[in-house]
Symmetry: C2
Subunit: 75 residues, 2 copies
């Protein structure tokens, strides 16, 4: 089984890496870019249930204060 966990900053929380990317793209001449946000993907292989993956997110992979997550089975 393969699960994809997408961890992103909640709306309203600063995303420094996204801001740095946007500024760098602007300096490189990409005036078309209005905003860049980032997210992290964890691709988890193994015989895990959705409930186990949910628990992994709550316990380790995401910070509930500033981040939200989405779980998707991809195989």
């Amino acid at each position: 089984m393969r699960w994809e966990v997408r961890v992103a900053y909640r709306r309203g929380v600063q995303d420094p890496e996204g801001e740095t990317a946007r500024d760098a793209l602007e300096m490189l001449g990409y005036g078309c870019v209005a905003e860049v946000r980032t997210a992290k993907l964890f691709i988890i292989e193994g015989e895990c249930t959705r409930e186990e993956v949910e628990e992994m997110c709550r316990r380790l992979l995401a910070n509930p204060v500033s981040q939200e997550y989405e779980i998707r089975r991809v195989d």
Copy 2:
């Protein structure tokens, strides 16, 4: 327009963050996890063309030696 760029380590390249996550999940008791790999998402908002986003990947967002990227329009 919204583009999603997914940057991942090439197969065969070590993914230290994925390995750390796997080890930590194992220590937390998730024996079901065989492997964890990670990827980075850049969500780019703006009136950019696919060609511009391709160029951004080559010039800034991905390291061609160790990473590969995938571009998807999501709006």
